[in-house]
């Protein structure tokens, strides 16, 4: 688990570079809240604290959630989300290994449903806004909700690329016009594309370490890209390219760090493939046709629910129980 956390570091560093120290503040808050809740719950349940707190699973949950949050979200939101994800989504289900839903995504989903406005308070990435916030101003905003005199939040805020595409399309703007806005970079949004690339790097490290099954990210990205590709080829005026979908929002983070969460996904090879594929499909549908700009979190939660069924119906054939031909081919 600590290796998973390590794999997130390039992403965090890039994120911080583009969006400021707010990111680190969110991560710090989430980590402290998650660990405290974890220890508290273990204590309540009379479990030994040390092996569970040190195994890093709470830290990874906290980091993943913090990375899905807007960097300038108020402090109490991330704290509340961390507490809920650990207490509600994890310990209420029986603790490590027993939870049905991905705790990080539960925390995020509760917040985006409850506080949609605050959850879309994204600061503009580096160099995009007319004014930018220094570290002190970011801290002040997160903890007090006020900005230093003379600063207006609207002046520093910006919607995410996915959000922008969505709202603009609703106003019947042509895709090419949208993509010419300065928010967008070569493939995704400015900054976002580098951050997602950094997640990809971390993901490759995880693959190399054999910590995640390759089939999951590959299927997820393939289906997401495939869906995007089909629509894009048919009507590039209204749909964005696969590359855009891969390199914006939580696609990369999801592919390597969220969809791969072992506890809440099926365990059979075929089941994992189906699971990841369906998440890819749902993510695309929610992004393009749903009410929320990004769909990874909801897609993951919905499929979490289906994981036991997928497992049930994808039991691999056991040694000696399959027909001989298949065995030969497989070997």
């Amino acid at each position: 688990m600590l290796k998973v956390a390590a794999a997130l570091i390039p992403g965090i560093a890039t994120y911080t570079y583009f969006f400021g120290v707010g990111v680190l503040v969110q991560i710090g808050l989430a980590t402290v809240a998650a660990l405290a809740t974890e220890a508290f719950c273990l204590r309540l349940r009379n479990y030994p604290i040390k092996p569970f707190v040190t195994d890093g699973s709470a830290i990874v949950t906290a980091w993943l959630m913090a990375l899905s949050f807007p960097p300038l979200a108020p402090w109490w939101m991330i704290t509340l989300a961390a507490i809920m994800s650990i207490a509600l989504a994890k310990h209420m289900y029986g603790g490590l290994g027993q939870n049905t839903f991905n705790p990080a995504m539960v925390g995020f989903a509760i917040m985006i449903v409850s506080f949609p406005a605050q959850m879309s308070h994204w600061a503009a990435p580096l160099g995009l806004a007319p004014q930018s916030l220094d570290a002190a101003a970011q801290l002040q905003w997160i903890f007090t909700g006020h900005l230093p005199a003379g600063l207006n939040f609207d002046a520093v805020a910006s919607a995410t690329p996915l959000d922008t595409v969505k709202t603009q399309l609703m106003q019947h703007t042509n895709m090419l016009t949208i993509l010419h806005e300065k928010l967008f970079g070569g493939i995704g949004g400015i900054g976002t594309e580098w951050i997602t690339a950094a997640y990809l790097l971390g993901g490759l490290y995880l693959l190399q370490q054999k910590l995640i099954p390759w089939i999951v990210p590959v299927t997820f990205l393939a289906v997401l890209g495939g869906m995007a590709g089909i629509f894009w080829l048919v009507d590039p005026q209204h749909y964005t390219s696969p590359l855009f979908h891969w390199f914006s929002g939580a696609a990369m983070l999801g592919a390597f760090f969220i969809v791969t969460d072992p506890v809440t996904s099926p365990t059979t090879p075929l089941g994992r493939m189906i699971f990841a594929g369906l998440i890819g499909l749902l993510t695309y549908l929610i992004r393009v046709f749903g009410g929320y700009p990004d769909g990874v979190a909801f897609a993951v939660l919905i499929l979490n629910l289906a994981a036991p069924f997928i497992d049930q119906y994808t039991q691999p054939s056991v040694f000696g129980h399959k027909n001989r031909k298949k065995a030969g081919a497989k070997a």
């Binding site: 092996p51 569970f52 490590l96 290994g97 994992r272 497992d311 691999p316 040694f319 000696g320 129980h321």
Partner: protein
Amino acid sequence: MNARAEVSKVIFPFHGGVHPPEHKDESSQTPIAAMPVPRQLVVPLHQSIGNIAKALVAVGDTVLKGQMIAEADGTVSAAVHAPTSGRVVAVGPTLVPHPSGLPEHCVTIESDGEDRWIERNRFDWRNAEGRIIRDYLRDMGVVGLGGAVFPSHLKIGGARDGLDTLVINAAECEPYITCDDLLMRERAAQVVEGIKIVQHLLQARQVLVGIEDNKPQAAQAMREALKNAAINFPADVVVVPTLYPSGGAKQLIKLLTNIEVPSGVRSTDLGVQCFNVATIYTIYRALEHAEPVISRVVTITGNVQRPGNVDALIGTPIADLLAFAGDKPGSQAYIYGGPMMGFELPGTSLGLSKAGNCIIAKNGALFPEKPVEMPCIRCGKCADACPAELQPMDLYWFGKSKNFGKAQERNLFDCIECGACAYVCPSNIQLVDYFRFSKSEIWAAEKAKKAADQARERHEFRQFREEREKREKAERAAAKAAARTEASGGNVAEAADAERAAKIKAAMERAAAKKVEAAAAQTASDSVTPIDPDAVSVPMGQAAIAPTSNEAPQAVESAAPALDPEKAERIRAAMEKRAAEKAAAEAMSPEEKAAKEAEKKAKIAAAMERAAAKKAGQAAQQQPGE
């Protein structure tokens, strides 16, 4: 001589597998050492799958080396022999190498130091029938020495039109163990002779010897021996990659032939048979030298001064073996078998069994303590490692929640308990322990179910029989009555009926009276009173099967319709009596108890006397007739 065709050397990998540190070099550097005959040998009698062998010797007997001391009991069983000459000093339950730590039947022999063989005659197996050869092997105690101790005679024969492939299992995939390696290096020629015998017996069309690639010397030795031997069938050594558990019979068969043997199917039916290389060696010794299985090569390694392989007699106490290899201080436990599938010995006084391929002295440096077991995070690593292609985390979950039916549904019985899953589990879950637990629970439940079904069946049959007897008697009585009616006209029949009814009534009254009497007698005998012979004789008078007077059969016959309620009554009475007894026993002081004991003895004595008297009386009665 050189009719050897090329055999296929393609390898068909099995799913999963792990590669733990091998630790083989420690014990494979020195040649096999001969272990001196120990002072005392503890020979377990349960040395094969199936029935425990029946002891043929008693305490005080002298035995010769190779003498059969216990014979096979039934087909699935194998004989046990005296490993050396000496005197039997104990026969009975003794600690055996088994994870339960429970005692089982053993013969303890004190050696006389002479190591004198029993007379041996070479068995002319070439001209013997298959059945005779199988019996011979059973009586020579030949069992699978790879650890499963399956009686070898059961694996020979069965394939009527010959076998496609005979697989010789020399993979020895478990870490630490090197006994087969050394056996092949030093006795390859004899192993090949054994292969020739088994090939002949099974009429195998080809022979493949599977050896892991970490034993090049053994592979080389076997290749040369095969080349030098006059064999007229295709045979070759196939070197397989070192990957645990390639030495599992099913895995090796898959590796060499691509045939997957499901659980519950005999590999013979699929055209393959697998023998451990050490077993092959003992088959050779048995058939060509009339030597029963009384010794084996065993690896002693781990925390000892001179790790290596020892040719030791079966029954050699583990402590002697350890002393021979130089036991070092600091061993926490001794593992019997390999580190993956073996178990910790319950003691070191117990004797080596045929299954014992390895003894590892375990210390903290070699076997660091396992970290605490964490919850399963469903990472799937165990499924990736499982050679049986199971989903161990699901089986674990079902086993843990005692949902055995589900576990069975998910093919729990295909698990070969190799331990690969537990080895890779990042949560340090001892998965195999759960599988063993589930399996033995399922077996126990099946046994209980069978017993219950049997009891139900027997009970129902008994009821049916009682019913039938009752009916037959009624029919007989009716026939008699009819005969009488015919003889003496119609109105007599009514009279006869009335007479019979009266008789039945009388008999029933008598029975009731007797029951009251019996109850009284029972209470009398239950309370602490001087012995009353009548109290005993009344229930005896009730005995229907031992009629002594003329009247008894009648009583039974006529009382028959009342049998069922009577039986219920009897059960109830028995229960009451037991309750009363219990109460009485509880209320009794020690002196009273002693008194009751004495009374019981007196009662028994009286009954016996009476029985004797009766017998004498009967004899006397019979004599005049003669």
